[in-house]
């Protein structure tokens, strides 16, 4: 059986994309930035104790699963989310939900994912996709990041649902059980903005939010001194990868969030939000500068082309801009 899934939208961020596609099946027209904003996916964290590819982890997104659950809760959509310790049960439950006529979102690891581009197939366990049908031991997959119709075999799906390592999903699957009568975006948008403000400004931990960006800048200054140029360029490369490459839509979700603020301005009929959206775009451009110039350092050179102090200054500038943006958002009365 195969559900009607011709509304699939491509998107930059896999989890927002999965949420958009799931909601789209129930005839909700919503864009990716909107979901990302309502789910408060905007985040920053620089966590040197967590290693990604032998480099300190930098994250620009909220924890996996949050965007979906927050969006659903804000929109008053009932959903069900499960994890399984038993692989067989996980697959049986997936079949059962599919048979009842609901598409299912699954969190998978990309290392064994067959249709994924080879250069991205690292041990990364936070990819989300939607399964919408089964035919002869093969599942139909709507992967919002990859173009075209994809299929995956039963064995492969079981394997990618049970990867190991950091953030192992343990067969996590989610689906929508009940839709509200009508969807009103006003309140969820406000809630999403407030949540992002809290996460960027008020979490009392120095590696997270705007403080985290400043911390990141300070760390960048230390890299060449402590670790030498070679390791520093590796660390820099990893942070640029997570800034630009892994489904961020450019500049670490800053452009997506700008698009969200712009759209929110239309929905709430507030022109200030549109102005802030422009500022957000400028902050995104600044992050882009960082990645452009950092990329020059990523070639094998004995001496870096741009000094790390210079790059750190750009990041500091980003932090200032973002702090300004979120202080403004926080002060706004809705």
């Amino acid at each position: 059986m195969k559900l009607n899934f011709d509304h699939m939208q491509l998107s930059a961020h896999c989890e927002s994309g999965a949420t958009v596609n799931l909601l789209g099946y129930y005839k909700v027209k919503i864009t990716e930035p909107m979901v990302f904003g309502i789910g408060a996916g905007y985040f920053f964290g620089h966590l040197p104790f967590m290693k990604q590819n032998y480099s300190p982890a930098t994250t620009f997104r909220a924890l996996p699963g949050l965007v979906f659950s927050r969006t659903c809760r804000a929109l008053d959509v009932k959903y069900e989310r499960k994890k399984f310790s038993d692989k067989q049960k996980a697959m049986d439950e997936l079949d059962r939900v599919l048979d009842s006529g609901n598409p299912v979102g699954v969190q998978v690891g990309v290392f064994h994912l067959p249709f994924f581009p080879p250069e991205y197939r690292m041990h990364y366990n936070m990819h989300n996709m939607v399964i919408y049908g089964k035919e002869n031991n093969e599942y139909f997959v709507a992967d919002s990041v990859i173009e075209g119709e994809n299929r995956i075999s039963y064995e492969d799906l079981m394997r990618v649902r049970y990867p190991k390592g950091e953030f192992a999903p343990n067969g996590k699957m989610y689906h929508i059980t009940q839709m509200p009568k009508d969807i009103d975006l006003n309140k969820p948008v406000i809630k999403g903005i407030k949540k992002s403000c809290y996460e960027m400004l008020d979490i009392p931990f120095w590696m997270i939010g705007v403080k985290g960006i400043r911390f990141f800048a300070k760390q960048i200054r230390k890299w060449p001194v402590k670790k030498g140029n070679k390791v520093a360029s590796q660390y820099l490369m990893q942070s640029i990868l997570s800034l630009e490459e892994i489904g961020t839509g450019g500049a670490g979700y800053r452009y997506i969030y700008g698009a969200f603020l712009n759209e929110a301005g239309d929905i709430l009929k507030r022109d200030e939000l549109k102005e802030i959206a422009v500022e957000m775009g400028k902050a995104g451009d600044r992050w882009r500068d960082f990645s452009y110039q950092g990329a020059r350092n990523c070639k094998n050179r004995p001496e870096p082309e741009f000094s790390y102090d210079y790059l750190a200054d750009i990041i500091m500038d980003c932090a200032d801009q973002e702090e300004k943006i979120f202080r403004k958002l926080k002060k706004m009365k809705f």
Binding site: P33, V145, G258, V278, G281, D285
Partner: protein
């Protein structure tokens, strides 16, 4: 070039990290952008401006690491597990989770002396993750080719 599973269905389903050639123009993802008038747009693109050096550099580092491990294995300084571990782009922590052993044990298995004493069951678990046979895992000579 043997990279994707989709092109080559069947047995070897892992990315061959050692010989990967990244095709920077094949895969397109959505990129958002702010236009000059303050409106946002998005389009599919394979590049955001400076993708190539970053992605290339990331693979260079991995390839270099694999190469170093291979040399060491051939010289007999570390066990083949270390080489295959790098080949599967994993580290001790991830590998330990996949084979179901504590990390300190996996670390010990990287020593040649300990590796030679390992029993078949443990070797099978490693081989399963590396997608090779136990004989292939034990055989160092074919790496020299």
């Amino acid at each position: 070039m043997t990279d994707t599973k989709s092109e080559k269905p069947g047995k070897n389903r892992l990315v061959d990290a050692e010989n990967i050639e990244v095709d920077n123009r094949r895969f397109k993802i959505t990129h958002y952008k702010m236009e000059d008038n303050g409106q946002y747009s998005h389009k599919l693109a394979s590049d955001w401006g400076a993708r190539d050096p970053v992605v290339d550099h990331s693979w260079e580092i991995i390839k270099e690491r694999i190469h170093i491990a291979k040399e060491k294995v051939i010289k007999g300084e570390i066990s083949p597990i270390a080489y295959y571990m790098e080949k599967c782009i994993s580290d001790v922590k991830t590998l330990a989770k996949y084979v179901g052993l504590p990390a300190w044990k996996v670390k010990r298995h990287l020593k040649v002396k300990v590796f030679n004493r390992l029993n078949n069951e443990i070797l099978r678990r490693y081989a399963e993750f590396f997608e090779i046979s136990v004989e292939e895992l034990k055989d160092i000579k074919h790496l020299e080719l």
